[in-house]
Structures are given as structure tokens and as C-alpha cells.
């Protein structure tokens, strides 16, 4: 069973990432492709677009489209709870330091937000294994970039720790050999866990860098508007992603005004040739019907947009 193809929509706050991801999900589902649309954005826009209550349990809009709203706080709490359980299971004493109090503060630690999203992403990939597409409506730029950078950054740490741990184990082995005349030492649980973490991040890095081939395809699209701030931010996103060796598949210009943007404006943008346009909508794109109408009136397809 193969993993779904992942499509991320990122961009500045308010440019229309949620609307674009909702439209693309709708288009795929109209082609009878099985789609899971997950909103990682705190703004809960998908609930407004589809005019329904959403949470982390998939809501089936149709036979082919399921929608979820990820609650980061809940994911962080879930993760901390599992860690506390594991710690309590393996530590013979707990009174020495106040673990519970420490964990309470941890949920506000920097890095927890993107970690929760990464864990959720991996979980969703498993959950929707038999689906054609997993479409992710990402939070605004800052969190999105930290999300994509997390595997690279974590691997830097993990590789250092692995090196140090191997050194420790080598010394430990020498000492045991001399002291206990070659009696075998216990396998190092910490090193085993380090290898496990390393494998997960290497896998994630490969997914983000799209090194996994067709079986595990992933692509990133940046949504923007035809205004200076949005254009400049898009340029920075493309550059920042490039520094982690993650490449943008395409740019989608969501036209929020009836007037078509002047092409000269956009010419300075990276990936200029790959800019696709979402036409202006006179009516708000709220509800399944409005989305379907917009798609058919403007005759837009996934083939054009992606």
C-alpha cells in the first residue's frame, strides 16, 4: 500500500491558502480521487469555508473528500502525556526532581508547535495510506518554515549526539573488556533511540526534499496575492526553502481584485514561468456549492493549477 501524494500550500497570512487548498481538494475529489484535506492552520479557516464544525476526527464531505482541523495544543498535550508515561515506566525514582511541574511548562517551549505538526503529518500519512492525496493547508510563513526545517535542524543535533554516544560506548566496551574479561555489555538503549530518531528525520527530510520518488511524492505550492508585501514574502520563502534543499513546485497567484495583475509586477519573482492564476471571485467562496460553481464557471483544473 502506497502513501498518499502530499501537497503543501504555504504563504503569507491571509493570501488564500485555505481557499486554494479547499478548491484543489474539491477538484481532485470531483475526479473521484480520494483526498484528505488537513488544516494545520490555527485560524480554523476550513471550518468557515466548508461551513461546518471540524476537529481532528476526519469529517467526510463526500465519498472522496475528508477534512480535518488539527489542534496543535491537543497534539502537544498528547505527546507530553506519552513521554511522561514512558518516563514513569522506566525511571525507578521520580522524587528527585519535579517532572510534572517541568512538563507543564514544556508545552510553551519553543519548537513544540512545529514538532507537534511534524508528528501529526507522519500520523496522517499512515492514517490515509490508501488515499491518492493528502493536502495540507499550512500555517503562515514563520511556523511553516520552521516545520520544513525541523528535520534538518534535528539531524544536526542527532548526528552530534550519535557521535558522542558512540565514543562513550567504545570506551565502555574497552573498560568492560579489561574489568570483566570480555563479558558482553548491555545494548545501549539511548543509542538505539538515537538511531530510531535519526531514521525518522532522514525519512522526513527525504519527503520534504522530494527524494522518495513517485511512491512518496510531495510538493510545495506558495499562494500569494498581487501586492508588494506578499510578493516579497513569497520570494523569501522560495529562497529560505532552497537553503534547506527544499524546492517549490509552483506559485499560485490568488487574485483578490477584479483587475488582472500587471505581468511586469510579477516578472521579478522566482519561478515566474510557473505562476498560475486563481481568478477573482465576485461572491465569497463559502460552502461546497460555491466552491463547485467557482470551479465550473472558471473552468479551472488541477492540471492547470499544479
Amino acid at each position: 500500500m502506497k502513501y498518499p501524494e502530499t501537497i503543501f500550500f504555504i504563504g503569507k497570512g491571509g493570501v488564500g491558502k485555505s481557499t486554494t487548498s479547499a478548491l484543489v481538494s474539491m477538484m481532485f475529489s470531483m475526479q473521484n480521487k480520494k483526498v484528505a484535506l488537513a488544516s494545520f492552520d490555527y485560524a480554523h479557516n476550513q471550518a468557515d469555508i466548508f461551513n461546518t464544525e471540524l476537529n481532528d476526527k476526519p469529517y467526510a464531505l463526500s465519498k472522496f473528500l475528508k477534512i480535518l482541523q488539527i489542534d496543535q495544543d491537543k497534539e502537544i498535550k498528547k505527546y507530553l502525556k506519552t513521554t511522561i508515561r514512558d518516563v514513569k515506566k522506566s525511571y525507578s525514582y521520580l522524587t528527585a526532581f519535579n517532572l510534572d511541574g517541568y512538563f507543564d511548562v514544556l508545552k510553551y517551549s519553543p519548537g513544540m508547535e512545529e514538532y507537534a505538526l511534524v508528528t501529526t503529518f507522519l500520523r496522517l500519512r499512515e492514517e490515509f495510506k490508501n488515499y491518492d492525496y493528502l493536502i495540507i493547508d499550512m500555517p503562515p510563513t514563520a511556523v511553516a518554515l520552521r516545520f520544513f526545517n525541523l528535520p534538518t535542524l534535528s539531524l544536526k543535533w542527532i548526528e552530534q549526539l550519535e557521535r558522542l554516544r558512540l565514543e562513550i560506548n567504545k570506551k565502555n566496551e574497552i573498560i568492560s573488556k579489561i574489568k570483566f574479561a570480555g563479558k558482553e555489555i548491555e545494548r545501549d538503549k539511548v543509542l538505539t533511540k538515537i538511531y530510531e530518531i535519526k531514521k525518522t528525520y532522514l525519512n522526513l527530510k527525504n519527503i520534504f526534499q522530494n527524494h522518495m520518488g513517485d511512491e512518496n511524492k510531495s510538493s510545495i505550492y506558495i499562494v500569494f496575492n498581487n501586492d508588494l508585501l506578499s510578493i516579497n514574502e513569497t520570494r523569501r520563502i522560495v529562497e529560505d526553502l532552497n537553503t534547506f534543499n527544499i524546492y517549490t513546485q509552483g506559485l499560485i497567484c490568488n487574485n483578490k481584485q477584479a483587475v488582472e495583475p500587471d505581468p511586469a509586477h510579477l516578472k521579478s519573482m522566482p519561478l515566474y514561468e510557473q505562476i498560475k492564476h486563481l481568478p477573482f471571485s465576485k461572491t465569497p467562496l463559502i460552502g461546497e456549492r460555491a466552491l463547485k460553481e467557482f470551479i465550473s464557471i472558471n473552468n479551472i483544473s488541477t492540471k492547470y493549477l499544479l
Binding site: 505527546y79 513521554t83 525507578s92 579489561i178 539511548v190
Partner: protein, 107 residues
């Protein structure tokens, strides 16, 4: 051979066995002591490495900056020994010289 000679022979054999056993035991003790002494320095070095590792990963528990929280958290359940080491270090941190002297058996 009469009974008397047999008893003497047995006595001598047992005595030799006992001597052999005590020789082996004392050799074992000497070997153990030598092995222990041989690794004192290496063990101190190892402990230092383990301490650095623990501090690097779980330093936030004692007020040191540490790697991304999720890495510390993922490794925490497997680092009981390292956390103990950190706590021991806090207890002995006021007397670094005494720790050094006891490692090299001075005084």
C-alpha cells in the same frame, strides 16, 4: 599400602588442593585489583563523557541551554542513569578538587 599411609597421602592431596585453590583465589583477587586499577583513569574519562552527554541532552533540567525540546523528550525515558549522574554532579559540584583527588586516590 596400609591405612595410615593412605590417610597421610589423602591429607597431602587435600592440602595441595587447598593451596592451589587459595593460590587461584589470590591470583583472581590480584587480577581483579590490577584490572580495576588499570581502568581507573579510563572510567573517570568515561564518566566525564557521560556527564557531557547528559548535560548536552538534558541540560535544561539544570538550567543549561539544550537541543530542541523534542529531542530531549524523546531520549528522556532512556536516560535514567544519565539524570542520576547529573544530580550527583550537582551534589558534588561544590568540591571539584575532592572529586579529582578521590579519582586518582590522592591523600
Amino acid at each position: 599400602m596400609n591405612n595410615f599411609s593412605k590417610n597421610i597421602l589423602n591429607f597431602i592431596i587435600n592440602l595441595l588442593k587447598k593451596i592451589k585453590l587459595s593460590l587461584v583465589a589470590s591470583f583472581k583477587i590480584a587480577d581483579e585489583v590490577a584490572r580495576m586499577k588499570a581502568v581507573v583513569g579510563a572510567e573517570a574519562e568515561l564518566e566525564e563523557f557521560e556527564y557531557i552527554f547528559a548535560l548536552l541532552v538534558q541540560g535544561s533540567f539544570v538550567g543549561m541551554p539544550s537541543p530542541p525540546v523534542h529531542i530531549s523528550m524523546d531520549l528522556l525515558p532512556y536516560m535514567e542513569k544519565d539524570i542520576k549522574l547529573l544530580l550527583d554532579r550537582i551534589n558534588t559540584s561544590n568540591e571539584p578538587m575532592s572529586k579529582l583527588f578521590s579519582t586518582f586516590d590522592i591523600g
